[in-house]
Amino acid sequence: MQGLIDRLKALLADGTVARVIGWKKGDMSYNPTPAVFNSAEELDEFVYDGFCGANLSKMMIDATKLEGKTAVLLKPCDSYSFNQLIREHRVNRDNAYIIGIACRGKLDIERAKATGIKGITDVAGVEHDGADTVTFKTLYGDKEVAYNEILLGRCYMCKGKEHVIADEVIGESKDTAVMDRFAQVEAIEAMSSAEKFEYFKKELSKCIRCNACRNVCPCCSCRKCVFDSTKFDTQQKANVDSFEEKMFHIIRAFHVAGRCTDCGECSRVCPQGIPLHLFNKKFIKDIDTFYGEFQAGKDPEAQSPLTAFTFEDVEPKIVSERSKG
C-alpha cells in the first residue's frame, strides 16, 4: 500500500492531479470511508484494503466539474460504471485521471458477522497482497476465516479482472467468480408464480425507503429523481403496504435497464439486506436474450438497448408464450 500512496503523492506533487478520490482509514479496522484527498499530508490517512468495496465513480460527477484533474481509484468492476458515466456525459473524462487498482474481491463485514464473529477489535490479512485467511481479533477471542468465504455477494459473480478504462493500472487483479452471474435469476425464474410473488413480497416488505440503493447507484445520476418530484403522485416515503416498494424497485430497475453495469452497489448498501441486484440482473438477462448480449459500460460509445430497436424485435407476448413453454 505504501507504494500506492507514494504514487498518489507523486501525482499530486507533479501537478498531474489536483486531488485524489480514495478511501480514508476508518475508526475501526473494517470501515474505511470514501474521501477526497487534497494534499500529500492528508494522504497519510489513505487506506486500500479488502473493505474498500465502495464504487467511487459516482463521486466523479461532482469532482470532474472542479478545477484541475481528479485522480480516482477504480477497481475493475468500478471502471464499467465510469465508462457508463462517460457514455451519459455525466463526467468530464478530460478532468479525470483513472488509476486502475488491483482487486482480489472485496469483503463483506455482514457476511463475516453472520459466521458468528462479533466484538471485532482488529482485522488482519485484508491487504491486497495479504494472506488467504482473514484473522479477526475480537472481544470474544480470535477467529480465522478464509478470505474467499466472506466476499461481497457480487464478487462471486465477478465480471473479470480487466479494467475497461484506466490511465494507469497498479497491481494485478483476480477474477473471483465462482458461479454463473444469472444463476440466482434462473433459480427464481424456475419458481411458480405464487412462489415468486411470496419471495419478493418477503424481501421487499423489509424495505424502509431510505433510498440508499438509488443514491449510491452510479446510473441513478438524475439531478432530480422522479420519486422526489412533488408534481408526481408518488408516495415516496410511505411504506404503507407492499405496493409502493414494488413500484419503486421495479421502476428504478427499469430506469437503469440497459445502463446498469451490474456493479452490485445497491445490494451492498441495502441496510435491510434486500438482494436488489436480482431486479437489475433480470433486465440484463432479458436484454441479452432478446436483443443480443450487451454489457453496459464496456464500450463508452455503445448504444443502449433501450434507446435502440430493430424491425425484427420480439413481440411482448413472448413473455407469456415463453412461460407456457
Binding site: 476508518g26 462479533k118 477489535t121 472481544l139 431510505c210 440508499a212 422526489d228 411504506n239 448498501v269 439486506g273
Partner: protein, 369 residues
C-alpha cells in the same frame, strides 16, 4: 426476582400474548427486526441489535392521522337540501374530518435493549412536550417495555458514553428488566406497569434470587469497559456549543462521501422528523404521517427555495441536532444513545462516532498549532 428456563420461553411468550400484543425480535428474510409474535414467527431473542430500532412501535414509519370525506355539491342542487348552506353562503362542497382511532390495547415490547429504552426517552421529550402528540401518547400509555441486558456487546456499541448501563437494565426507564444467564431468563418488575404484567404471567415462572445475575452483570461490565468506543469523549458537545461547532471547518470535508440517503435516520432510535402527506383514496383523502429525513434534499424545499441547499448543510443539521440543538432544548440530554446502528449500516461508513472523533482530532490539531 423470577426465572424461567430459556427452553420454555415460548410458554412465556404465549402467556404474554394471551392478554397483550407481543412485539419482539423476529427474523424475516435474513434480517431481524421487531415484529408481532405470530404463528410461525422466527423469534431471534438473542439478537443484540435489530436492523431498525423499536421506535416503530411508538412512532410508526407510517400512520394515518385522519380521513377527510369530501362531497361535491352539484350546482343545481335544490335549495331545500339544508346541508347546502353554511356560514351564510351556499356551499359548493362539504368536508368532514374524522380522526384516526388511537391505540387502545396494551402491547409488550420484549427484549428491548437499554439504549433503545433511552431512545424512547429522547422521543418523549419531543412528542410529549406541549402540545402533546396524542397518537404517540396513546401508544406510550399502552406500551409495556421489557428490557434486556446486552450479554455480548459489540464494537459498534458506545452507549456507556451516554451513561446507559447495558449490564443492568433495571436502571432503564422501563417496566420489566430481564437477564439471560446460565440457561435461564431472569425477570424483575421495575414499575407498577411491570408488576401488573408480572402478575398476569406469574404462573410460568419459578422464584429466584437477585444474586443469580450478578456474575452476568460483571461479565457484561467487563466487556463494556473494553469496547473501542467506551470512552468516546462528548466534551465538545452539549448545551451552548452551537456557534463554535456550527461554523467549524470540519464540516467542509467530512460530509463529502454522504450519499444523502436516509439509512442512518431510519435505523436511528432517536430520529423523530416526520412528513405529513395526503393520499387520495376511493372515497376521500387520507392524511398520513411518515418518517422523513433531514438528509433528503426535499426536506426543507419550499415554493421559493430551500434554506439548506447543500448536502453539507443537511449533514450538519443532523449531527448538530443530535449533539447541540437537542441538548440546548433538553437540559443537556443528547439525542443519541450510542446504539451503533448507523455505525453498522451507513453505506459509506460515515457515522456519528466519526463526526465526534473528527472534531476531537481537529481540536487536538489546533492545540498543537
Amino acid at each position: 426476582m423470577l426465572k424461567i428456563s430459556i427452553d420454555k420461553l415460548s410458554a412465556l411468550y404465549d402467556a404474554i400474548a394471551a392478554n397483550n400484543e407481543l412485539i419482539l425480535p423476529v427474523r424475516k428474510a435474513g434480517v431481524v427486526d421487531y415484529a408481532s409474535y405470530e404463528e410461525g414467527a422466527d423469534v431471534a431473542i438473542d439478537t443484540l441489535k435489530t436492523a431498525k430500532s423499536p421506535k416503530n412501535a411508538f412512532f410508526p414509519q407510517f400512520e394515518t392521522l385522519y380521513n377527510v370525506n369530501k362531497k361535491i355539491i352539484p350546482t343545481d342542487a335544490s335549495a331545500e337540501e339544508g346541508a347546502c348552506e353554511g356560514a351564510g353562503v351556499a356551499l359548493r362542497s362539504t368536508l368532514s374530518v374524522e380522526m384516526a382511532p388511537l391505540v387502545d390495547k396494551d402491547f409488550v415490547i420484549f427484549g428491548i435493549k437499554p439504549c433503545d429504552v433511552k431512545g424512547i426517552e429522547v422521543l418523549d421529550n419531543v412528542f410529549l412536550a406541549e402540545p402533546v402528540d396524542n397518537f404517540y401518547k396513546a401508544r406510550r400509555d399502552h406500551g409495556i417495555l421489557v428490557t434486556m441486558a446486552c450479554n455480548e456487546p459489540e464494537e459498534s456499541c458506545f452507549c456507556s458514553a451516554f451513561g446507559i448501563d447495558a449490564a443492568d437494565p433495571s436502571k432503564a426507564k422501563a417496566d420489566v428488566a430481564v437477564w439471560m444467564a446460565d440457561g435461564n431468563l431472569y425477570w424483575k418488575a421495575i414499575s407498577p406497569k411491570g408488576e401488573a404484567l408480572t402478575e398476569s404471567v406469574k404462573s410460568v415462572f419459578e422464584d429466584s434470587d437477585e444474586a443469580a445475575v450478578e456474575a452476568t452483570k460483571a461479565s457484561i461490565e467487563g466487556i463494556l469497559a473494553k469496547l473501542p468506543n467506551a470512552n468516546l469523549s462528548l466534551d465538545m458537545w452539549g448545551k451552548g456549543v452551537l456557534d463554535d461547532r456550527f461554523y467549524s471547518p470540519v464540516w467542509d470535508e467530512i460530509f463529502k462521501p454522504c450519499l444523502a440517503c436516509g439509512t442512518c435516520t431510519f435505523v436511528c432510535p432517536t430520529c423523530q422528523c416526520y412528513d405529513i402527506k395526503d393520499y387520495t383514496t376511493k372515497d376521500g383523502i387520507q392524511r398520513y404521517r411518515c418518517w422523513d429525513s433531514c438528509m433528503y434534499s426535499d426536506f426543507t424545499m419550499m415554493a421559493h427555495g430551500n434554506n439548506r441547499n447543500s448536502q453539507k448543510e443537511r449533514f450538519r443539521q443532523r449531527f448538530m441536532h443530535k449533539l447541540s440543538y437537542y441538548p440546548d432544548k433538553n437540559d443537556g440530554m443528547f439525542s443519541c444513545v450510542g446504539c451503533g446502528r448507523c455505525v453498522d449500516k451507513c453505506p459509506q461508513s460515515l457515522n456519528i462516532v466519526k463526526v465526534i472523533k473528527a472534531f476531537e482530532a481537529s481540536k487536538a490539531k489546533e492545540g498543537q498549532a
